[in-house]
Amino acid sequence: MSLDTDRAASKGYPLLKSERLWGFWKYSWVNVSLAIATWAFLQGGSVATFVGAKAAIASIVIGYGISVLFVALVPNIPSARYGAEHFVTLRSIFGVKGARVVMIVVTVFSLAAWAAILALMVGHAVSNVVGQLLGPDAWTNSSISITVIALLAILVTWVLLLGGPKVIGRVGTILAPALVVLTIVMLILVFTHVSWGELIAAEPLEPAKNKHLAFMLAIELNVGGGLAWWPVMGNLARHTKSVRAAYWPNVVGIFGASVLAAIVGVFAALTLGSEDPTVWMVPLGGAVLGIAALAFIAVANLTSMVSQAYTGISAIIGGGGAWLRRRSWALVSFGFLVPVAVITFFPDAVYNNYGRFVSWIAIALAPLCAVQLVDFFLLRRGRLDPRELYKSAEESGYGYWKGYNPVAFVAVAAGSIAYVSLLNPVSYTPSSLFIYLGASIPSMLVAGILYYLGTLYVVKRAGKGAYSVRASPVEKPADQPRMN
């Protein structure tokens, strides 16, 4: 067989088992290097604005635990099982054309925004390093200088992206252990400044009168933080050698590393009174160690940006149709990074209001995740027909109505409305029910139930969606895959 894996990966075609790159350990390192990136510190810093250390630990483990479990199931399992690009698998839900709409919205508003957050953090880190080296008088730590450095980081990301998935895996293998070491060193340094007793006695950065509401906001922030992995993981999981090798590294890597780094972030924020991770390093480690840590964070963020961008670009090419598939990887990479660059001009929209940004992300991703969960595991019993995924809207069993499945879009919209009615993302004002329900989980329930009923009573009755066709007729009996 003379197949070109890199070309297939970039075009969203199914990757065959013999072409997959990552077993359990390698994918774990990829996950750890992604999760322990400084956005986890930023997450911890934001949690510390609502709650103290003990409640923060509980909210982080519970919030990430729930959401990472969902994400480990979808999109990881369908992408690992069929090797297909994440947004291509979504054609079975939203329709051949509808999945492109989802792809564009999610790619532009979520993946690009996350990459921009990382770029801005590189800007903050480098700016702080230069400020320490040259002195505050010689260097203006302004938003303009931060944006300029962020733009340079985006340029470097583009160059690194030209290396493809092998480069991402290689970089992850090298940087992940170093990032774990940095996080542990930060933890040790925190405890050279404060005792455990002082830490758990420390008030949140913005103490709330209603402590239960603050705890629920912290949980919601962490559920949203975990759901934010939904657009990313599918396109990485398709490179894994088995479904188990896709599932467990998420539970261990994404969950474990995110929780560890976020908790360290909470401790540092409570100790130093700031939610910005780039402000912590010099006070924690002194000038030399602090500068080294900041420089390292800048490099680590670049690798995370490459992973984020790779996922976005794979989605654009794989799900974007024939015209985009004819464009070069370099050109589409550049095109993806343009909105990332634009967002860096508006740091208040993302980096400086991280909690609200996560809320916006969850409004879209919580119902999307729920709909995929219900469709893949309940309605299709874990089976897709890979051939139908790649046919045109007119020919495919996943064509629905003119290429769109309105039931899926209505379900996602209803889930989003449920979220907004429980937690206003603009004012960040919770409703009276939020304190008992949160926002993401009810949003998922609304979207999932509506999608299930709509599919049962509308889609299936109309004979759409290829639900009556038993996919993969030659499928072998389920075996027990090794965790390789």
């Binding site: 067989m1 197949l3 070109d4 070309r7 297939a8 075009k11 075609y13 199914p14 065959l16 088992k17 013999s18 103290g52 250390a53 003990k54 409640a55 923060a56 630990i57 509980a58 909210s59 483990v61 519970i62 635990g65 729930i66 479990l69 480990a72 199931l73 399992i77 690992a80 099982r81 069929y82 090797g83 758990i200 705890f215 088995s242 479904v243 188990r244 599932y247 467990w248 539970v251 149709g321 024939a322 598939r325 874990g382 890979p386 051939r387 790649y390 046919k391 045109s392 020919e395 993969s472 030659v474 499928e475 072998k476 009996p477 389920a478 075996d479 027990q480 895959p481």
Partner: protein, 57 residues
Amino acid sequence: MPMPSEFDSDLEERLTALEAKDSPEAVSDRLPAKDFWISVVVLTVASVLLLVWGYSA
């Protein structure tokens, strides 16, 4: 049967390999249910314990 316009030989070869009976590339891989339930039980127990410990603060 005419090949749909977006199909090329590479994609066709991959889909055929996925669908081929007894092919090492055929879709067969599933997550064992026990893997899922182990993670659910561990998460639930950890959450309850942490809720009792952390929320009493």
